[in-house]
């Protein structure tokens, strides 16, 4: 009996290993592409990045060698590009060594906050601009003014729209390294087939409510029925971002009041935006419950799609995909889109070391200066001077949407931004997209629940 059960166990183990392995293989590529903020996958290599190694910085930090710990939340192409930046920086700055620790995105903020809380945080961290107010409130992100001055950071070299998202009452809390707005991608071959591609390689579309609808209508009529006119997920991030863009295009100003204390949805504008998007689902322009809209566009079976700029790198490395990138069409009164920004912060440490903080700011500024490496994944660099670099100009697509950096409508600096988005807005808007709730009801319920979150 004993022997038999041992053999049975062994057999079980062997078989199960094979199951586990094959299961991993299957699930690896899947994932829900709409989740999170920066899961841009596989960007081909780091190639030659010919960074203009600001030699001046090297001597800045004196003779002492400074080692800095750096926690990041990037994976895939982003992760590789950040590592390339760190390697290049370490090579050109012998006195400052940065050690990059990659954490899993989903756990990053929880780990950062708890580690800083018990005094084991890193010297340098990453934060999304939308998470910054919360980190400031919890005492995780620190005032950078003194360190920036010591390191000779010139704040005027940054895009001011981005910078304003990281500044509270004249105090800088973060160094923006990019913005990653919500933009539109289109499949050139399919648009051409439908007769909607101009000679300049750009879509032929009138930038208005009817114009966009007619554009989709033509796509639906002219293209085979297997082709999705507009690839978009049916829940959470991306449709929410589209709603935010259209809400802002009408002049909607976030969903909370300026004093950040009360829920303040501009109901009519919110309804109009939600109603417009709901129609795209109910009239069949967006595939219902599309399990993977990234794949849909990537495999050339969708004419247009909208998501963050981080997808650019992924599309570039997809063989045979002829695509273009452009800002979200101006469907309502003014140009606006959703966007967030990656920033570098200096978390609170148990012992404040001015030399380390200065070195960290040298690093942050250098990363921003060398945005052409970071832009490989698709992000828009935070310093306009990078746009003029030959390495940046040599990369296609990016220049088609750098102007968006000025029209990104960031969320207000509330500590509750993330919670409101994840626990309220997604929830009710998802119901609208599924046609189970009217836009008006959703706005009312959002207003009530946002107030509840703010009162907590």
């Amino acid at each position: 009996m004993k022997k038999r059960s041992f053999g049975f166990m062994l057999l079980t183990l062997l078989l199960s290993f094979s199951v586990v392995l094959s299961a991993c293989g299957n699930s690896g590529g899947g994932g829900n592409a709409s989740s999170g903020g920066n899961e841009s996958s596989s960007n081909s290599g780091n190639g030659s990045n010919a960074a203009s190694g600001n030699a001046g910085d090297a001597s800045d930090s004196g003779g002492e060698k400074v080692t800095l710990s750096f926690w990041t939340l990037f994976d895939g192409g982003d992760g590789d590009n950040m590592q390339a930046l760190v390697d290049e920086f370490n090579k050109t700055h012998p006195n400052i060594q940065v050690k990059n620790t990659k954490l899993v995105y989903a756990e990053y903020y929880t780990k950062l906050i708890t580690a800083v809380g018990n005094g084991n945080g890193p010297d340098i961290g990453i934060s999304h601009a939308s998470r910054l107010p919360d980190l400031i409130d919890q005492g995780v992100a620190t005032d950078l003014n003194a360190a920036a001055e010591a390191a000779g950071v010139d704040w005027s070299t940054f895009n001011q729209n981005l910078l304003s998202a990281d500044t509270v009452d004249g105090v800088h809390y973060a160094v923006p390294i990019d913005t990653h707005p919500f933009i539109m991608y289109y499949n050139k071959a399919l648009l051409k087939q439908a007769g909607l591609l101009g000679d300049d390689g750009k879509p032929v579309m009138e930038q208005s409510e009817d114009g966009f609808m007619n554009f989709l209508k033509t796509l639906k009529e002219k293209l085979p029925s297997k082709i999705t006119p507009f690839a978009l997920s049916n829940a959470n991030d991306d449709p929410y971002r589209f709603w935010w863009a259209l809400y802002s295009q009408q002049g909607g100003n976030d969903v909370i009041s300026d004093d950040l204390k009360s829920a303040d949805i501009d109901k009519d504008k919110g309804i109009k935006a939600a109603d417009f998007i709901q129609k795209l689902y109910t009239q069949g322009y967006i595939k219902k419950n599309d399990p993977d809209f990234y794949k849909n566009f990537q495999s050339g079976t969708a004419a247009i799609m909208m998501t963050g700029v981080w997808a650019t790198g992924t599309w570039e490395s997809t063989k045979g995909l002829e695509f273009g990138a452009m800002p979200i069409p101006k469907i309502f009164d003014q140009e606006a889109t959703w966007g967030d920004s990656h920033t570098i912060i200096l978390p609170t440490t148990s012992k404040e070391d001015p030399a380390k903080r200065k070195a960290a700011m040298v690093f942050a500024n250098w990363v921003a200066d060398n945005g052409q490496i970071w832009a490989k994944a698709g992000h828009i660099p935070s310093k306009p001077s990078v746009f003029e670099k030959p390495e940046f100009k040599a990369m296609p697509y990016r220049s088609d949407y750098v102007s968006v950096a000025d029209t990104v409508k960031f969320s207000k600096q509330s500590t509750k931004t993330q919670q409101i988005r994840d626990n309220v807005s997604y929830k009710y808007l998802n119901e609208v997209w599924a046609n189970k709730m009217t836009p008006a009801d959703a706005m009312d319920k959002m207003q009530t629940d946002i107030q509840k979150v703010l009162n907590d």
Binding site: F8, L11, T12, L13, L15, S16, V19, V20, A23, C24, N26, S27, G30, T110, I113, T114, V116, G117, N118, D134, Q138, N234, A235, K287, K288, N289, D290, P291, Q418, Q419, D422, N423, K427, Y428, N430, E431, A434, K436, D456
Partner: protein, 296 residues
């Protein structure tokens, strides 16, 4: 004599000590700390201030908490009976003398070895629209007309079925093993005697096998209820608690409150509410079992 016993006790304690220290440090102490947290406003990194019974008062009036508890209860009701019936059925199949006996045992148990993430993602791929196995199969045999899809993951009722099926597939192996070993414990003489008395298969099953399995069934029921009440990961991955939080179990709410809303004190309070619910259920079950035994 007394001296000898004392010595044995001390010796036993000495051997138990390594475990006890770790157990106290990582299980008992956090539990005590958890009780303390319920009386404070406590964020992810710091204690904010004593607030007395406020957290408990809030829990009682918090509709979300009761909804989430209800959802966990729904899952218990869906999963426990199916888990037991399927466990017995699989054990019956694997217990029959057949060349495939070993094969059955392996394949029935294998899914239990997968991690929850792998099992859930497999479930996700099987049930997703357009490309999922289930819908594709239904299209193939023309039960489901072309151009229509069943949205297993986004309709509340279907989402519950999906989650239950995936959990069933994933964890029934454990119950199956327990039942199989219990079946092998049943003495062959009893079966032989019943056959000599002319009992048919049906009678053998209901009059002999099932009664012999009663003790293990009681134990499995208890374990299953506790396990099902603690459901989290597979629902989190498969439906995310949606649509409209209608499949969100209590553990997910606790997780969101603690780590997303940064309110550990309140999350700890909810955990203790769940603890009390489980304690009451266990006590009730214990009481029922003992009473029955007294009747005999």
């Amino acid at each position: 004599m007394k001296m000898k016993k004392l010595r044995a006790d001390v010796l036993a304690l000495l051997f138990l000590l390594p475990f006890l220290i770790v157990y106290c440090l990582f299980t008992i102490w956090p539990m005590v700390k958890g009780v303390q947290m319920t009386f404070y406003k406590w964020t992810l990194i710091k204690k904010m201030g004593y607030i007395g019974w406020d957290n408990y008062r809030n829990v009682i009036h918090d509709k979300e908490v009761w909804q989430a508890l209800w959802h966990s209860a729904i899952f218990v009701v869906l999963s426990t009976p199916t888990m037991i019936v399927l466990g017995i059925l699989l054990a019956l199949i694997a217990n029959r003398k057949s060349v495939l006996q070993k094969f059955y045992r392996s394949i029935f148990f294998i899914p239990s070895i997968l991690s929850v993430a792998v099992a859930s993602y497999l479930g996700l791929f099987v049930f997703q629209p357009y490309t999922g196995l289930v819908n594709s199969a239904l299209h193939l045999v023309h039960i489901l007309p072309e151009n229509t899809e069943i949205f297993w993951l986004t309709e509340t009722g279907l989402a519950w079925i999906t989650v239950t099926l995936v959990t069933l597939w994933w964890t029934v192996g454990f119950n199956f093993i327990l039942y199989l070993s219990a079946m092998q414990e049943i003495p062959d003489e009893v079966y032989e005697a019943s056959k000599l008395d002319g009992a048919n298969d049906n009678q053998i099953f209901w009059r002999i096998t099932i009664p012999y399995l009663a003790p293990i069934t009681k134990m499995i029921t208890m374990l299953q209820i506790i396990a099902s009440f603690k459901v989290f990961m597979q629902i989190y991955i498969i439906t995310g608690g949606g649509p409209l939080d209608k499949t969100r179990p209590i553990i997910q709410l606790i997780y969101q409150t603690g780590f997303k809303k940064n309110n550990l004190g309140y999350a700890a309070t909810m955990s203790y509410v769940l603890f009390i619910v489980l304690l009451v259920l266990s006590a009730l079950q214990y009481w029922i079992n003992n009473r029955k035994r007294g009747d005999l």
